[in-house]
Amino acid sequence: MELTFYIAAAVAILSTIMVITRYNMIHALLYLVVSFMAVAVVFFTLGAPFMAALEIIIYAGAIVVLIIFVIMMLNMIQEDVQREKEWLKPSVWVGPALLSAVLLAELAYILLGANPSQTEALVAVDAKLVGLALFGPYLLGVQLCGILLMAGIVGAYHLGRQKKKVIHRFLQERSAAA
């Protein structure tokens, strides 16, 4: 299992790096799928098979597909790729990368500097347990999630509508009043 974890972790990191360095969005998204799958494997090794399944279905499936659809709607062409290339100069990414590295180093310092916890055998937390908790103490959270999704749908519908006029709504009101 350990080995599986490390390989999956390595894949996840590598593919994520690939995601953030691609110029072409579709390529990046494909790497993203790989990354999500690798993380799903990590979930499995951590004893959360249900979550692994969800990761693949929702992240790698639904969300990525959604993004792909949008990209298709936006008609990305070669020029855009070229522009991505221009935008992503070393001078742009060195600073943030360094800062993030500092953050990571501090995180690592916390993790590694902490007292090593006692060794315990891994116990899987299966879907049944999760389900019991989900519809027991977390019932309210589930309801809220439902509302959130509902709001997301409504919001997406409202925002995604194509309006005829592309001026500001205050201006619109004024023109209507006039």
Partner: protein
């Protein structure tokens, strides 16, 4: 009668109030009736009161009108106190004031602002009466400042001319400087005596202070400061010549009856304090002596008729100060009274001349008026004779001789003061007769268009008579020995003893004074009538010309003060017009604004930079929580 005391100052005030309220609506005849009538009735009351006073010979009359205010033991009243000294003053003020008012109705007849003029004149007389009648120093101060205000209003009466406004302001501000010294003196007096009642202070002072006490000296000096400002003495004399900017009756009122004699009154009134501070008293004499010389020499060089008279006033008040300073109190007051008569006379004559010559004041453009204006000529000659102290016939001789005599023979007198007085007398008669000769003799240079009417000549004649006979109430003891005046003042003012060693030779000094006076007349005659080429020759001498210019400019005092005080003050004030302290707060605001600009630049709308901000913040928080 004594219950009517309050009427004396109240009537002029009433007149002033009526004129202010209804001045715009009444005809001129009614206006002059109110203006002159109020002072006239006041003079009538004064004369009746004076008769009663002379008959009864009380120490004083006193009347409290109301209590002004009362704070923790400080209880000044609006109360009037009249003793012999005040009696003399109110007589001069109301009587001479009345004559001047009468004259002014004719003089100002063509003036549009008739009501304003008489309102101010009435207010002037009223304030002066309050000044001399006040029973406490605070009320005296009220009159004192009121006089200053009225002088401001009247000197600047023709306000459209900026120079007049300047002269008016100068008069007010310079006298106010003196007043400030006096106010400080009042604080000190109140602290020491717990009251400002004059009689209380005078009776308590000898117990509080020994002779020569520091407190007495300080108080005396501060009061002298006030007196010097109002009376136009050194070093605050510069406003008086400029005060000629007002109409001529105003000049007469300021110089003869009111205002400038206030300082004399104050010192005479506070005589006990000055006697307790011999040093201050000596200073009074020295100031008087110096002023009479300086002003006399300036008068020699002036061409403006009124300016000559103005300098002569300064000089004559210097004589009064000299008299007060050597302790010849009653002599000083006597000279004040006589001076009021002849100076009012001279000014009113000058006014008649100026009016007749279309407001021409320059003596170089006058001349030959002896024929065309005989009444004015004769009255002016009498006034001039009195001013020059022509022996035996004029009142001025008796009063001035007394001063000169005590300046030498009095307890505090000395040879230097006497010499100054004598030199002053010589100069006085020179400039007086220079004025007479320039104005009335020689060829006529300006046509007389406006011969003086009755309203103008009657006051002149009355004053001329007084200028002649006024002196006979007080005659030297080796010559008639009449002491009506000093006897009257005896209870109020300390008497003076002449030193016995000199007394035997008094006639010698009287003769000297007479000779000096006549000599002055002769010199003037020599230079201006007999042989004018002498004057011409003198004017070609470089030193003489420079001296003449120096004296003409009033010994450079104006320029000195201008450079020393006025200009630096105006410069500093204008420099700081924007208020330097405000720039500190403005700077504070600017700094805040700078920070605002700096911080608002970070709000650039670029999403990534916001995220960057979050990251940096996270790093900082983590670092702090980890390593600190």
């Amino acid at each position: 009668m004594e219950n009517l005391l309050w009427l004396i100052p109240a009537l002029p005030f009433l007149g002033a109030i009526l004129l202010v309220l209804f001045g715009g609506r009444l005809p001129k005849s009614l206006l002059s009736l109110i203006g002159v009538g109020s002072v006239g009735v006041s003079a009538l009351v004064t004369i009746l009161l004076g008769f009663e006073f002379l008959a009864e010979r009380p120490l004083y009359y006193q009347q409290e009108v109301w209590q002004w205010f009362s704070v923790a033991g400080f209880t000044p009243s609006v109360a009037f106190h009249v003793d012999a000294l005040s009696m003399v003053f109110i007589f001069v003020i109301t009587f001479v004031g009345f004559l001047i008012h009468l004259y002014a109705t004719a003089y100002m007849a063509d003036e549009a602002d008739f009501a304003r003029f008489f309102a101010c004149m009435n207010l002037f007389v009223g304030s002066m009466l309050v000044l001399v009648l006040a029973d406490n120093l605070l009320l005296l101060y009220l009159g004192w400042e009121g006089v200053g205000l009225c002088s401001y209003l009247l000197i600047g009466f023709w306000y459209k001319e900026p120079a007049n406004g300047y002269a008016a302001r100068k008069a007010f501000i310079i006298t106010r400087i003196g007043d400030t010294a006096m106010a400080i003196g009042l604080f000190l007096l109140f602290q020491l005596f717990g009251t400002l009642n004059i009689q209380t202070i005078l009776s308590d002072a000898p117990q509080v202070w020994p002779v020569g006490a520091e407190g007495a000296l300080l108080v005396a000096l501060l009061l002298l400061g006030g007196a010097v400002g109002k009376s136009g003495q050194l070093p605050l004399q510069t406003w008086l010549p400029d005060a000629m900017a007002g109409p001529t009756p105003v000049s007469a009122l300021i110089h003869a009856a009111t205002m400038v004699t206030a300082g004399v009154y104050l010192i005479a009134r506070m005589n006990v304090v000055f006697e307790l501070a011999p040093l201050a008293q000596l200073l009074v004499a020295v100031v008087g002596a110096a002023t009479l010389l300086i002003a006399g020499f300036s008068a020699l060089t002036q061409y403006d008729l009124k300016r000559v008279l103005a300098y002569s006033t300064i000089s004559q008040i210097g004589y009064m100060f000299l008299a007060l300073g050597v302790g010849a109190w009653s002599a000083g007051i006597f000279h004040f009274m006589i001076h009021a008569f002849f100076k009012a006379l001279l000014f009113l004559c000058a006014g008649a001349i100026i009016l007749a010559l279309h407001h021409e004041q320059d003596m170089r453009h006058m001349g030959g008026l002896r024929k065309s204006m005989p009444v004015v000529f004769w009255t002016f000659l009498i006034g001039a004779g009195s001013l020059a102290a022509l022996p035996l016939i004029t009142a001025g001789f008796y009063s001035k001789d007394q001063i000169l005599w005590y300046a030498l023979a009095g307890e505090n007198g000395n040879v230097w003061l006497y010499a100054a007085g004598l030199a002053g007398a010589f100069v006085t008669s020179i400039y007086t007769f220079r004025m007479v000769f320039l104005t009335f003799y020689g060829p006529a240079k300006t046509h007389v268009s406006h011969p003086p009417g009755k309203l103008i000549t009657i006051p002149l004649i009355l004053l001329a008579i007084l200028s002649l006979v006024g002196g006979f109430i007080e005659l030297p003891h080796n010559f008639g020995h009449l002491v009506l005046f000093s006897e009257l003042l005896q209870p109020v003012l300390p008497a003076i003893e002449a030193s016995a060693s000199l007394a035997a030779n008094e006639w010698l000094f009287q003769l000297l004074a007479a000779v000096v006076s006549l000599g002055g007349v002769f010199v003037a005659y020599l230079f201006y009538i007999k042989s004018p080429y002498l004057l011409h020759r003198l004017m070609h001498n470089g030193l003489a010309v420079r001296l003449q210019q120096f004296w003409f400019a009033g010994w450079g005092f104006d320029a000195l003060y201008d450079n020393l005080f006025v200009r630096p003050y105006v410069f500093l004030a204008n420099l700081n017009k924007r208020d330097i302290i405000d720039s500190f707060y403005t700077g504070l605001a600017r700094t805040a604004e700078g920070f605002h600009v700096m911080l608002s630049q970070s709000q650039n709308g670029v999403l990534r930079s916001y995220v960057m901000g979050i990251v940096v913040g996270a790093i900082m928080i983590l670092t702090i929580s980890l390593f600190l």
